[in-house]
Symmetry: C2
Subunit: 284 residues, 2 copies
């Protein structure tokens, strides 16, 4: 049996009782370590679970899934994923390979950033499509996410922005020379995302593509380390958020659409500036 086990979002203790039992009993347990992180390190998890974990990087999961699935028709293999196994990153591909090989599978769900963001007070059923922000390079600066955010805003919907994670990336030079030397991991901050957003808006204005709704005045919410004891939620206008220091990763960003009374009351609790939510409440 292949068990896909969600670890939730905070630390080692955020695994479910069901998940913990299965991790402990499995023949092999892989820790997917390239799409998200916990505040706990691998060794903390191993200590808490009382067993060894095999680190599964992108190469192993995408190119050597046979290794993960070996003997899984006879033995139990646990595949551990931060958040939920079908949340922000989905492991459909691994499941399909298991199905092809006649390996039964079971999912142990857990908190995903896709739903845990409800803790900021914005209601999940008012969210539209989710977008992803990627790190820009000198030559690759995609900003198509703005169309999606604007389409959500036009319908009054909030937008969850998932921020880029670069783990085990090679520099162009190392890649060309075939050297398996990796850059330090990078996690996009709320402040970097806001900077990118502002630059994309101004570029579009310069090209005459007017950004009709999204502006420096738009309300947004920065979230960091959600589910951990050191989580941080900060809310304000785009222009106010550019200098906010949210601390260590992971960060996420929400662009708020129409905000209802109860949502405002909760956002106030996280506001940089209380007046943001008083002077134009009637317009929101």
């Amino acid at each position: 049996m292949l068990y896909l086990i969600g670890l939730g979002l905070g630390d080692a203790e955020d695994i479910t009782v069901k998940g913990l039992k299965l991790v402990r009993a499995a023949k092999r347990a892989y820790l997917e370590a390239y799409t998200s992180i916990l505040t706990s390190q691998k060794k903390d998890l191993e200590e808490f679970y009382g067993r060894e974990l095999i680190l599964a990087d992108r190469d192993l999961v995408e190119q050597s899934s046979d290794t993960i699935l070996a003997d899984a028709t006879k033995e139990d293999v646990a595949f551990l994923v931060v958040g939920d196994p079908f949340g922000a990153t989905t492991h459909t591909d691994l499941v399909l390979r298991a199905i092809e090989r006649g390996i039964p599978y079971q999912v142990v769900h857990n908190a995903s950033i896709m739903s845990a963001i409800g803790c900021c007070g914005l209601q999940l059923y008012n969210f539209g499509e989710t977008v992803s922000f990627v790190f820009w390079t000198d030559t690759w600066r995609p900003s198509s996410y703005i169309d999606k955010i604007e389409a959500n805003l036009q319908r009054g919907h909030h937008t969850l922005c998932l921020l880029d994670i670069k783990v085990k990336e090679q520099s162009v030079e190392n890649m060309m020379k075939g050297r398996k030397v990796y850059e330090p991991p990078r996690y996009m901050t709320v402040s970097q995302a806001i900077e990118q957003l502002l630059e994309a808006i101004s570029q579009r204005k310069a090209k005459g593509q007017k950004s009709s709704i999204l502006s420096e005045e738009t309300i947004c919410v920065g979230l960091a380390r959600i589910g951990s004891e050191c989580q941080k939620i900060v809310c304000g206008k785009v222009s106010e958020m550019v200098d906010v220091d949210m601390g260590p990763p992971l960060h996420s960003l929400i662009i708020a659409g129409n905000v209802h009374y109860l949502e405002i009351e909760m956002l106030k609790y996280f506001a940089i500036n209380q007046t943001t939510f008083t002077y134009d409440e009637t317009k929101m």
Copy 2:
């Protein structure tokens, strides 16, 4: 301290290790019992947690929250919610009352139906706004959810439909006579939701409001008891789903928008009829 603790979606063992510790240590523990259900009963939860739970119905939570929050500045109170405390049903109101009274609070996240639905293979970031289906009465037959589903479909997005739950409802007669006699709980089935959908589409056609995208041919996914060992996922055209028996509650329904290759591969696994996903794959 007020702890809002998610119980996840399956049975007693779907609580997190962190959540379980806090439930056991709390002075009082309330079980929110009117917006969702587990496959475990209250007594199973009490046995597993090793403590008594106080059932919190809508009246207690919405009208007597002072009782729940009593002494929570000095003592730990646990408020247990099926799924995530800010998932499909949000408990913002209780948190705001705690904040007003100077009571600190902490959230222990868990799986929510809002993200666990990813297990059917449809990717969460392709979902648009979530809609709610309510039980129709002879005189109240709202169908505004169709506009929202259509708006999602126009953008190629999937729609999660949360299906109605009626717990501790009074009949009109009992309500008028002030008798606290309650009807048996009702949980909308996938089949009932599809029937309602078909009737709403045909009523709109009769009024000349053409339903341009949503039709009997639209692909949808029925989900029941997600996260439990007896979960069931069935996928097919709207017309094929009307007679599907998904078994005991809770049920949810997804109306699929544009379906990508990996999504199709996964949906096939749950298909009533494999040919649904072969003859017009190129159009999807």
